[in-house]
């Protein structure tokens, strides 16, 4: 078989089981593709030795007939996941040189399933960003380009390396994490599929924390079926994460019937944003029509507090980040600033954090410090948590009225050029997460899938939001939509 790196998880799994290829062949194809794609800056720590070792072990397992779904399938791991013996920096200079002595639960579960780790993937520093431009490794670059142009585009963020790697066929799939849209927005920008599961579905243990009440891991893949396969392997209760849910994990793939007759799909009026490009509105209404044609019932719904999701997020997420990132003090791991004679411990903290954190991380840590400080805690932090309760209630109300899933655009635009937003104020970048952030605040599952191309040939995505713990039903609705859109476009290879 040729171009093995271009396969999805399901196709590769089936080929492995039929003996048509081996995990070593799949892995070598991906390693070859990775080495030719350094210009994308997607893989920032390559682990070919580990990959080939695991591939050989997976082939042995396949021969014995003891092969879970992910056995032998080469994947990339976002740099936010701690991987034993392999650099894990969360895209930050402050963690330069950090080599964990332990493995995150999610990456361990994938390894136990036989998945092959190809290396670590680029990301925004501490997952704070929407364009992968805050990374200490430099920008990840999208394999997509506008028609007849060679402007380098963002793959989105924070899981930008994951999205670029999957879209460019450097791996079969990748892990991502999503605090405000960091799986779904890059998936939409790169024509790939990304699901953020219900809060608590995947263990956060060993995943570098950004905003603990919002962070969730999830898969980034080439199809909805692949997302179902990989999500199942990543999910499950973990005693080491007190917020991980002790619920059975269904066979998500078995739930992909494509039959959505009688399902009620909500279209929230508040997501018709002022100034939204006509192409996005068109994509959304076409998606709505497709779901209707597949037998779903379309209902107009209202999520009245949508407008306040981003401001609430930009209180809660920085507040939690300021607390979580307090641990980077130059004492236990990572970089310590060079000190001058007479510098005490306070100077060590201040210099270490000033040198180790990038501007966006510093900004958010300080905003978080401010909103939690004496005198402002009630006015900002508690108010934001109250608004968060109202946002969640909006969703509970529509689900109580019988809505099974909600269809929205995934992003307010297609991918932009790297550097194009550099003169904008920080808030302009935050607005990119306007359709995704509500889902994190409400703890719900959300999936982004490609639905079309814009006039410049760039992919655009739609988002489906599901009921808590019903990822299986959500994936099935996404599967039906995927069959209707028939999206197969891939970026032309220039790298």
């Amino acid at each position: 078989m040729s171009d093995l790196n271009k396969l999805g998880l399901a196709e590769a799994r089936d080929a492995l089981r039929k003996g048509e290829t081996t995990s070593v062949e799949l892995t070598e194809a991906c390693l070859g593709a990775i080495d030719k794609a350094d210009v994308l800056n997607a893989f920032v720590h390559k682990t070919p030795e580990i990959a080939l070792e695991r591939a050989a072990a997976a082939d042995a397992r396949l021969k014995q007939g003891d092969a879970p779904a992910m056995c032998g399938l080469p994947v990339g791991i976002k740099d936010l996941f701690c991987t034993k013996g392999v650099a894990s920096q969360a895209g930050s200079k402050i963690l330069e040189g950090f080599v964990p002595e332990y493995e995150s639960t999610v990456s361990q579960q994938l390894a136990d399933n036989g998945a092959v780790m190809l290396g670590k993937l680029n990301m925004d520093e501490f997952a704070m960003g929407s364009s992968n431009e805050t990374s200490t490794y430099g920008n990840a670059v999208s394999p997509w380009r506008r028609e007849n142009e060679d402007t380098p585009l963002t793959p989105g963020g924070s899981s930008g390396g994951s999205a670029a790697a999957v879209a460019a066929d450097l791996c079969l799939a990748a892990t991502g994490t999503d605090t405000g849209g960091s799986i779904r927005q890059p998936a939409a920008f790169t024509g790939t599929v990304g699901i953020k599961p219900t809060y608590g579905r995947c263990s956060r243990w060993g995943v570098v924390a950004f905003a603990s009440s919002l962070d969730q891991a999830g898969p980034m893949t080439k199809s909805v079926r692949d997302a179902a396969i990989m999500l199942e392997a990543m999910s499950g209760h973990d005693p080491k994460d007190s917020t991980s849910a002790d619920l059975a994990v269904p066979n998500f793939e078995a739930m992909l019937t494509g039959d959505i007759r009688g399902k009620k799909i909500g279209i929230p009026k508040e997501y018709h944003m002022e100034g939204m490009p006509a192409e996005i509105e068109k994509l959304w209404s076409e998606g709505t029509a497709m779901l209707k044609a597949a037998g779903a019932e379309i209902v107009d719904i209202s999520l009245p507090h949508t407008k306040y999701a981003l401001p609430a997020y930009y209180v809660i997420a920085p507040a939690e980040a300021s607390s979580n990132l307090a641990r980077y003090d130059g004492v236990r791991y990572g970089n310590r600033a060079t000190l001058e004679a007479g510098d005490g411990i306070t100077e060590m903290y201040e210099k270490t954090r000033a040198q180790g954190f990038g501007d966006e991380v510093k900004r958010r840590v300080m905003v978080g410090t401010y909103v939690l400080s004496a005198g402002f805690y009630d006015a900002y932090y508690n108010r934001a948590r109250r608004v968060r309760s109202l946002i969640k209630k909006d969703f509970e109300n529509v689900f109580a009225a019988g809505v099974d899933a909600i269809l929205t655009p995934a992003t307010p635009s297609a991918a932009f050029g790297l550097g194009e937003m550099s003169d904008a104020d920080p808030v302009a970048m935050y607005l990119l997460d306007v359709f995704t952030v509500t889902v994190n605040l409400a703890g719900l599952p959300g999936i982004a899938l490609p639905a079309g191309l814009d006039s410049q040939g760039l992919p655009l995505g739609l988002q489906l939001i599901g009921r808590p713990w019903e990822e299986g039903d959500l994936l099935n609705t996404a599967y039906a939509l995927e069959q209707s859109t028939g999206f197969v476009a891939k970026p032309g290879k220039w790298w």
């Binding site: 009440s213 920080p426 605040l441």
Partner: protein
């Protein structure tokens, strides 16, 4: 609420991030942009609404209060920028 340079300096100090004096005006301006955005929350009627404490209703699990891990000081110290004699080493904290 508007943040001046003194407040920006105080926040930087609380966050233990060194900010040079000449960078404070720009920092204060950025804070104000973000806080203006956040101020929208004041439009919302939150009377009688409880602040969210957990997004999924669940009781934290309990376990026996026993030691489950330990005896790996070497691993704990392996990533420290400065570790000596089984301890993390830091600059002098007392005169």
């Amino acid at each position: 609420m508007s943040i001046d340079q003194n407040t920006a300096a105080k926040v930087a100090k609380l966050a233990r991030i060194k900010v040079e004096d000449e960078a404070l005006p720009a920092l204060a301006a950025e804070f104000n942009t973000i806080l203006d955005f956040i101020e929208q929350l004041n439009e919302v009627d939150v009377e009688g609404v409880d602040p969210m404490t957990s997004v999924t209703p669940q009781r934290l699990k309990r376990r026996e209060d026993v030691v489950t891990d330990g005896n790996q000081a070497d691993k704990v110290l392996s990533n420290a920028p400065d570790a000596r004699e089984g301890f993390f080493a830091v600059p002098k904290v007392m005169e």
